[in-house]
């Protein structure tokens, strides 16, 4: 067995690592605490509002139909897994369920290139600023699926000290998929519902409830 020299350890207040990172941790904690204090109300569900005068316009209607068909046919999900639900998300992209049939196998690692954020699993308050930032970095038009009860309402961790009670407190959610965790079938059903929703977007009418 290899014997190592005993390593000299400096206790907490004198440790350079502690001093260098503590201020950073404090500022991050302040952001989380502020988020926790302000994000009480949930974002309203994004609704589709097509103004009446545009609904009859053939030109806008046909452009819309084309754009919405294109958008719904190539929804690139964001490569983001938070908890156990992410394994169901991964399984839905694998050969048995195969999201690529819908042109969705292109999981993008960069939020700039993704269209759909699948919030797969428990969102803790410590992760909440990161989720929010990823959502902010995504380019419009963007959609959010809340997968599983933890992301939808906190689920078994409802009223826990560290879990966000529903991801819709920090970002607007388009489709909720219940289950703990939902099977890939359920997630794919949620994605089909999102396709139906995307088909009803309009050039002129923006989705309500966005900031």
């Amino acid at each position: 067995m290899v014997e190592h020299e005993p390593i000299a350890l400096t206790p907490t207040p004198d440790n350079p690592l502690f001093r260098q990172t503590y201020e950073l941790d404090r500022s991050e904690g302040a952001v989380i605490n502020q988020m926790r204090a302000t994000h009480i109300e949930q974002f309203p569900d994004p609704l589709i509002e097509v103004p009446a005068e545009f609904r009859r316009s053939i030109f806008v209607g046909s452009i819309d139909a084309l754009l919405n068909w294109g958008r719904k046919s190539s929804v690139f999900p964001l490569m983001m897994g938070l908890a156990c639900c992410s394994f169901e998300m991964i399984a839905s992209a694998m050969s048995r369920w195969d999201l690529s049939r819908f042109g969705m196998e292109v999981f993008r690692a960069s939020p700039r290139q993704a269209d759909l954020m699948i919030v797969s699993g428990t969102v803790t308050w410590k992760m909440a600023p990161v989720v929010r930032r990823l959502y902010d970095q995504m380019a419009e038009p963007r959609w959010v699926i809340s997968q599983g009860v933890c992301a939808t309402s906190g689920g078994p961790y409802y009223e826990s000290y560290s879990v966000v009670p529903g991801v819709n407190k920090i970002i607007p959610v388009d489709v909720y998929v219940p289950g703990c965790p939902p099977r890939p079938d359920a997630l794919i059903y949620g994605i089909m519902q999102l396709h139906e929703k995307i088909k009803r977007y309009s050039l002129a009418g923006r989705a309500a409830g966005r900031e």
Partner: protein, 148 residues
């Protein structure tokens, strides 16, 4: 299969290394006085008859009127394991235990986690910060008196 040393055996081993440090034992664990813990830990790690090179886990327990820290140790050379319990002070206020990080580096994150969730300070720990929760979180949530 690892031989699980009973409390009495562990107590006698510790007593042989550092006399006067054991306060008692039960069927599974030896109780060690907090002030002598650094010397006991060093001895358990270094002495060939003990040879506890591996720290399995660090646990904190809230007994309402006091806190207890439990160290699970294993010797890979002798293939035996031991449980050490340390009582942190007489009351709930400011429980303190000497850190085991100078002996077992693996105790680093586990002691930080115990500090984070139970609020037990580990004296001499090189980087005692919260690890699960964020700085600025009110209180220590795994204490029995923590209310949301």
């Amino acid at each position: 299969m690892t031989i699980v040393l009973g409390g009495e055996q562990v107590a006698s081993v510790i007593e042989a290394i550092t006399p006067g440090s054991v306060t008692g034992h039960d069927s599974s664990a030896a109780w060690v006085r907090a002030e002598t813990w650094p010397a006991v830990a060093r001895g358990l790690h270094d002495r060939p008859e003990a040879d506890f090179k591996f720290l399995n886990s660090v646990t904190g327990v809230d007994y309402i009127d006091h806190f207890v820290i439990v160290y699970h140790l294993t010797s890979l050379g002798h293939n035996h394991s031991a449980v050490i319990k340390i009582r942190c002070g007489e009351a709930r206020e400011d429980p303190v235990v000497p850190s085991a990080v100078p002996v077992w580096r693996g105790a680093d994150l586990q002691e930080r986690e115990v500090y984070d969730l139970m609020g037990i300070r580990f004296e001499g720990h090189p980087n005692l910060k919260r690890v699960m929760l964020w700085e600025g979180f009110p209180g220590h949530p795994h204490r029995k008196d923590f209310l949301r």
